[in-house]
Amino acid sequence: MTSGHAPHETPEMRLGHDLVRAFAHLPRERAAEEIATHIAKFWEPRMRHALMAQIRRGNTDLHPLLVRSAEHFVDGDIDRGEVREPSGG
């Protein structure tokens, strides 16, 4: 995942994979939660829906960690406390 963006990535995939790279150093579940939290905090819903649509279609170009993080949206299982902190940026 470190050798550049695939040319056929949609914007959501590109942004999602940026998050994967940013959190890849964390243990898998923690990373998935961080990515899900970030997406909940900063992504407009249509972007999230576009990503979910890709996942539902079974797009194999999606990184498994991104797919795992998306399960947290489905479950609604993200750290709301984090969203409540001042946000910045």
């Binding site: 470190t2 050798s3 550049g4 963006h5 914007p11 590109r14 942004l15 940026d18 998050l19 790279r21 940013a22 890849a24 150093h25 970030h38 909940a40 905090k41 900063f42 992504w43 407009e44 819903p45 249509r46 972007m47 576009a50 709301r80 969203v83 409540r84 902190e85 001042p86 946000s87 910045g88 940026g89």
Partner: protein
Amino acid sequence: MSIAAETDYGTPAVAARTDVTVTIDGHGVTVPAGTSVLRAAAEAGIGIPKLCATDSLAAFGSCRLCLVEVEGGRGTPAACTTPCADGMVVATDTDDVRALRRGVMELYLSDHPEDCAGCARGTCEIQALAVRTGVAEVRYGRGGANHLAEDRDESNPYFAYDPAACIVCSRCVRACEQIQGTFALTVSGRGFGSRITPGATDFLASECVSCGACVQACPTEALTETSLVALGMPTRTVLTTCAYCGVGCSFKAEVQGAGPDTRVVRMTPWKDGGANAGHSCVKGRFAYGYAAHPDRQLRPMVRNSIDDPWQEVSWDEAITRVAEGMRGIQERHGVGAIGGISSSRCTNEEVYLVQKMVRAAFGNNNVDTCARVCHSPTGYGLNHAFGTSAGTQDFASVEQADVILLIGANPTDAHPVFASRMKRRLREGGQIIVADPRRIDLVRSPHVEAAYHLPVRPGTNVAFVNAMAHVIVTEELHDVTFLRERCEEVEEFLHFIVRPENSPEATAAETGIDADQLRCAARLYASAGNAAIYYGLGVTEHSQGSTMVMGMANLAMITGNIGREGVGVNPLRGQNNVQGSCDMGSFPHELPGYRHVSRPEVREIYESLWGVTIQPTPGLRIPNMFDSALGHSFLGLYVQGEDIAQSDPNTQHVEAALRSMELVVVQDLFLNETARFAHIFLPGTSFLEKDGTFTNAERRLNRVRPVMPSLVGKDEWQVVCEIATAMGYPMSYADPAAIMDEIAATTPTFAGVSFARLDAEGSMQWPVTEAAPHGTPTMHVGGFVRGRGRLTQTVYVPTTEPTTRRYPLILTTGRILTQYNVGAQTRRTPNSTWHPEDILEIHPSDAQMRGISSGDVVALSSRVGTTNLTALVSDRMQPGVVYTTFHHPVTGANVVTTENSDWATNCPEYKVTAVQVTVATEATRAAYAGREAAVRG
């Protein structure tokens, strides 16, 4: 306001713990010990004649006009160089003193033109002093040797030097040294033959950066603004704030006339300006002419398609078309199909209303601001670490710094007035470490020599900052007590940072920084009494921009360099109101004061006040707007004062997005690049017409006061109100002060702010609260805003923009002193004399390999586009890295930048683009000519 006279106390104020009391001409006056007799007299209302002294400069004692008698003392000492001693009794106007002064004045007048225009204007101090000292005629005659026939130097477009009027008091030379720190002027020759020269050349070709400090310091007509000569004396003054960079200098706009016929004669920096203390740069002082430029579009215009010609219409018609167009799109495509972009060039009040219009009238959170493309990672990173999306210090703090770590910023070009302050500190013994791919002026310039220049390769900042922290922790230079008492996630961080992959040796191949140099720099930073970090877009505009901001916060926390004067983590903000536009809730995920839209208790504040429901989910950021436009779900955009088609990355992508929209509304001074894709153009107002506030990089709210009424018939905040109202959401305010009152009532950090209080205090730094009623110069004293400071494991992730055989060089971008951002303002002033085009700087070895010489036209290509530029072969660059500015639309540096962005904020990775540079061919020239034709229209 009439002309605002500022008292010149003759010598600078002295900060001392003890006071002394002296008697001057029978008046007792108490001053801090060390104060000159000249200043003490001025404070007592006694004006001792003076010529070489002025209170912005250290006393020099050369003109001998300020002579006084001191009881019990010998002779007649100069009041400017004589410090007050307790109990001293001074006489300033005895017969002896008067006679001596008359003699001195006669000598000056014998070599001073009789027809001096300054006498007529009343700007020449000589004339006034001649009257005061009673010199009616010159006993020596005017026929002797003199300088009256020497040539004027009119090379600088903004001021002229007339040697005939020069009295060689050297105020200009000292201003250039002490205030500006450029050392461009010298006194050449000796005695009668001594003259002021800008080196062996004229002003334009010299080292002079046209800051105007010498012009302001000159007591005669010798250095005078060209505008003053052309227009004559101003008749009134308005105190306002510069609209260029994030320093936010205060100015006296000195003007003639009234109403729409008002003309600015000159801008003079305000001595009591909190940010600038009487100094300015060439942009703020001189480059205001764009506001009256004939290119300004003063009437609203509409067209059905972007291929149609524009048609001027009334405001009512334009606003109705905006409202109907936007509502129509929402009816067809949904509430979220429209949005707005606010500008850091606008006031807090204007920006606040744009986000209110989007949230209340558009009914969504699709509002973003141009900070997205510059300092959004600052907001994210500092907030994550400290709990506040802002710099930690005031500018004056740098005067207490022992070591300055400057990363990815070039203050002498981009933040010149702050750079002068920084250089003064360096001359006084402060040290500087410069981490930058280029050898910028602060690495070496007159009287400045960086302790270390770490030429970090673009894209590897995080590896660099981690290596700094690695050295500090492994060599046990970290502040264990500070970490224990004030920080969290400490153990995790320490465990992470000591890992061998973070060592300078392990990262050297990536960063390009010599490991030994980095170790020494880290030790210097960690062992300084006060170490302060200053940074710019060379930090933020990276795919790891936010990570790097957190990395710098780590560095400050592990060394305890936060929470007092002289330390901290300080963003140098690019635009005048970047800080303010972020504070005002311009981001799509947060309401004013950086409070997330998902928080019901925050939404409730605005919902009850505005009478609407606010969406609890984030809106689209600028890049998401473009992507959604291309995906046909975003079709209407209102853009206030930002030229997204020129300033945002990957121009082709932006242009395609704009073309695909149904309604683009641009509000601006000029028909900018974005207006090429607009359907409705609404004229904007310049800073000279605005009433409001700007917030600078040190969180300082400064008043912007209208010098003249709006030249377009409406104020920008009114236009926003009228659009909202026409869309069915009535919005109105009595004046901008009422808008600030609403901001203060709803945003805790602004609770104590009002126009009245700002007018009384001059300026205030937020938070302004009950606990800090006068504002907060230094943040996080005694504790962080978020409680404990958070350390973050800032893992280095290489950019996805690697160099390849096809694109083997890295392009990085920056600014030059005389131009500003996309150049819309500065290109419409004589500032283009210095920088008429963007230049590509390339290292000699890279140039030689490609057969490129300085002055060649070269093609610059990346995987997304190609442009042409003129090359400058320069060893300021390191091999493998090329550099250009982005001030000119014809070159369009963003034609080659890509859609890569910061993982957290989508701030574009402007600073890293893999490129190739070749000598331009027929084909690239033809492609460029096509672009030039389109841009120039």
